[in-house]
Amino acid sequence: MDIEADLVVIGGGMAGLVAGTIAAEAGLNVVVIRKGQSATAYSSGAVDVIGYLPLASDPFSSPEEGLFALSRLYPLHPYSVIGYDESIQPEKILDVIVERTRDTVSWLKAHLEGTLAPVKGKFDSNIHPITILGTTKPTCLIQKTMDSGDLNERDDSVLLFVGISGYADFNSSAAAQTYLEDRVVSGSSPQKVAHCVLQVMPFGKPYNISSIELARHLDHAGSIEPIAEQLKKHIEQVGATHIAFPPIMGIRNAMKNKLKLEEMTGTTVFELLGFPPSIPGQRLQKSLETIFVKAGGKLLLGHEAISYTRDGALLKSITAKSPRREIKIDAKAFLLATGKYIGGGISGNKNGLRETLFDIMPVTGDYHSALDIVPSRSTSTLSISPVGQPIQSCGLSVDPRFRPVTEEGLEWAENLFAAGAILAGYNYAVEKSGLGVAATSGFNAAKNAIELIKEVA
């Protein structure tokens, strides 16, 4: 079976779906193919733009401040790349980077409104939501279910961490203790923190309860009331004004559940940032898919790109394989958003790294060839530190239009673009920049692809 498209996007996480939506909204015929679950679905569901400068210990107060600092120091960072446009005067580059990122964030925020994952947050200030460990992290956008309201503004706020018996992903007492110590040290509100454990049994068994079971359970009518009843007793005991839940408030009805619980208990209820399997990550993923399909895009799930044809400087087609069929898709332009190691865009063995579909040369964070690096030598002896693991900065090097480049520094194909975690030159885990880079590079790579397609037409 053969199909034709204007743009084929390979990879359906944040980068691929933002790119696909932008192109579909521009009137193009877009196909996004996705092999399996995206890394976006494993994310906390909050959208980081930039939290830290590499190796720095103070978080940026806003993405804006972060981008100015970052793009000055790291001119090849994916964020910096969006400022390289022949039409832009050198002194305007930084402003353009900030403006284009701001545009992406605004676009994303507006598009997520009315989906399963509406977000809140401003480009002018990072927020510091609480995680399931009781720590906080800087991020730009949180899902509205994660909004803790006036928790940190009120002097008299009392935060209650709610655990669920038999649900091991969240320990309310350890999180409460950790968060309280952090507040005491920083002298900020709340100064009173408590924890409790509720009984919620989606399948009538009191153990091995998973996030997805809880979220699906809470999507059903009548599931919130018994929780509110149990909560009231604990709220009264400690005088809680705010309630922190693990991120399990529902897939379809999370926001409704938050509001209902707030109404029934007279408190502010919010979700913490959590680890995979992540319900907010899945809500975000589903929402991005909905937005893309609504814009007229075609989404092929369970299809893995396995080969391609090219004609001179142009990529002509890719072949996608699913368990039952192979499809050849001809297109005018292609966008590679297959992610890094989790996504499968980059793989590696003891002899070096490979880009898995086109065999384009990957580079290290310092833009040397990563074809023959020994992965263990591109690591730090420290497991978790601001240095991060340099191997996580490997990926593809791109030209100013987000086209992957070869060893000679030329674009691999005139009509192949790349976005998201497959890009080299940034370590999202330490920068706290993952979904922000994905969205922004997807947004801008798509603009370039659209331009190319329209030029050809």
Binding site: T135, T178, L180, Y207, I342, T381, S383
Partner: protein, 554 residues
């Protein structure tokens, strides 16, 4: 400083030290065991757990006989911790077979008492039927059987049994000094309590130095010389049981290396490199990993496709023989009574030895201790079962009664034998403790809580050694924070300590993962970084994290 009095202080909580403490306590001597880290946290924790027939040491028939006898004892006192692996030595050309056949006779001499069949040659078809992944050109293979024991559990149960017999077991207590009187007799042992930060001392008549590769260092702290030959050995660990049976093959340098299914994983080892480094800093090198993989590849070509999850590295405390390769150094042990070599009176040190003979070593040294104390009592350690080995366990019935998977229960049985019922009993009152915390192994919450309450762990790493938490394919990616929460609850830890426990556990896992980063471990590590650094923001945490010896000097 508090001072109390003991008959014997044992230094070192490895296989030998815990065996000595158990023996001394069972003979009624007032016993204290001091371990600077945790039980089985060093040498023995990096071995394959083979309680060997002594096949490799057939040039030393006495040792082979001792090994066989000890296997019989282990099967009597600790059979719940024991697994038997059939082993194939595949031959690709005749010269492999013809070089030496005396080993067949030496091995077969002891098969009766070890309850295994005699060594035999298998045809290529029979070999491939047992292990289809073997090289198709195999011309024959040698078949034999060896027993394996869970080295962590063995040490822990010896320590617990010593405690049950009145010994004191003190982990995280590092010996820093000895008080010696004018007659060159040791009177007191001074040690630093790493948990409380206090320096303590105890009076004692005898000190047994069972510190393996650190024996020389301990002797030096009292001014005695103790030559030793340190030899580094590394393993590569795969994510599951990738072979049906053990495979052994000659490496590029003619040494035998092996691939053993071990618990839920497979071990490929070992290397042998003389070392003068601080054992705490050692990690496997790229060369060691390739040496092992390339050698095993000759008979098992698909080994390259298997998923490596980590490496582990230990140091053999060999008897100081010079001018011979590691493989020719005696695997027997020596007991050095320092009073007889011009050193301090009351100090006895071990050199050499193997896991299989740790009980024998303990018996021999405890006989000497008894003489010194003037209180000779016969040894019973070979007759008295270790805790949990009292009876068979009906896993199927327990699975029905408690509604827990057979797999989880069988893994628990392999650690606890009859004692597992104590863990399960907790789930009557706390059904939520049936929750699986480590899904790779698997480990349920009740066992973590029981281990914390009864088995004196201080850190997540100590829990790992007790119940194999975080030792599977994900290397603790998904259980580190869950188990840390339980530890924090049980020990009433501060928030800082909760985070430090997470960081310490990640650090120790990373120590072994890092060297073998390739293939799927790249994605696994991206996930771990995404969780603990990106979401948890722990890379920016300002808790008091102590750099580990292998992390320093970057």
């Amino acid at each position: 400083m508090t001072t109390s009095e003991f008959d014997v202080v044992v230094i070192g909580g490895g296989s030998t030290g815990t065996a000595v403490a158990r023996d001394c306590a069972m003979r009624g001597y007032r016993t204290l065991l001091l371990e600077r880290d945790d039980i089985a946290s060093a040498t023995v924790g990096t071995c394959a757990g083979m309680i060997s027939s002594g096949l490799k040491y057939r040039d030393e028939p006495d040792i082979m006989e001792m090994c066989s006898k000890e296997v019989v004892h282990w099967n009597r006192i600790a059979r719940h911790l024991i697994m038997k692996n059939p082993i194939l030595a595949p031959l690709l050309d005749l010269s492999d077979a013809a070089s030496d056949s005396s080993y067949m006779d030496s091995y077969s001499e002891h098969v009766g008492e070890r309850e295994v069949p005699p060594m035999m040659f298998l045809t290529p078809d029979a070999s491939l039927e047992i292990e289809p992944m073997l090289h198709p050109d195999v011309i024959a293979s040698v078949y034999y059987e060896e027993y394996f024991i869970d080295p962590f559990r063995l040490c822990l149960l010896q320590a617990i049994d010593a405690r049950n017999h009145g010994a004191q077991i003190r982990t995280y207590c590092e010996v820093i000094n000895f008080e010696v009187n004018n007659n060159d007799e040791i009177e007191e042992v001074v040690f630093y309590n790493r948990i409380s930060g206090a320096t303590e001392s105890v009076k004692t008549q005898v000190v047994v130095n069972a510190t393996g590769p650190w024996a020389q260092k301990v002797a030096k702290s009292v001014g005695d010389e103790l030559p030793i030959r340190l030899n580094k050995g590394a393993h590569v660990i795969f994510d599951r049981r990738i072979v049906n049976v053990g495979i052994t093959v000659k490496a590029i340098d003619g040494r035998w290396i092996y691939l053993f299914p071990h618990e839920n994983t497979t071990l490929l080892g070992t290397t042998a490199l003389d070392t003068w480094e601080d054992p705490d800093t050692l990690v496997a090198s790229f060369d060691e990993i390739e040496y092992l993989l390339q050698s095993m590849e000759t008979v098992l070509p698909s080994i390259r496709e298997a998923r490596i999850i980590r490496t582990m590295t230990g140091v053999r405390p060999l008897v100081p023989e010079w001018k011979v390769p590691e493989g020719k150094v005696t695997r027997g042990y020596q007991i050095v009574d320092h009073s007889e070599t011009g050193g301090k009176k009351g100090l006895i040190s071990f050199l050499g030895g193997k896991l299989v003979m740790c009980r024998h070593m303990a018996e021999a040294v405890t006989d000497i201790v008894g003489k010194k104390l003037g209180k000779e009592v016969p040894c019973t350690t070979h007759e008295t079962p270790l805790p949990g080995n009292e009876d068979d366990v009906d896993i199927i019935a327990l699975s029905k009664e408690y509604d827990i998977s057979l797999h989880a229960l069988e893994r628990m049985r392999a650690r606890r034998g009859t004692e597992m019922v104590k863990v399960l009993a907790h789930t009557k009152e706390h059904p939520e403790w049936k929750t699986t915390i480590c899904t790779c192994e698997p480990v349920i919450e009740a066992e973590i809580r029981v281990a914390i309450r009864d088995e004196f762990p201080q850190t997540l790493n100590d829990i790992r050694r007790r119940i194999r938490l975080g030792t599977g394919p994900c290397q603790g990616t998904f259980c580190t924070y869950k188990a840390a929460g339980i530890l924090a609850e049980e020990l009433s830890l501060s928030g800082d300590d909760f985070l430090v426990d997470i960081l310490d556990f990640r650090a120790e896992r990373w120590k072994g993962i890092r060297q073998s980063m390739r293939g799927e471990q790249l994605a696994q590590e991206e996930l771990a970084q995404g969780m603990y650094a990106c979401v948890g923001n722990l890379d920016q945490s300002d808790v008091d994290y102590d750099l580990k010896p292998w992390e320093e000097g970057i």
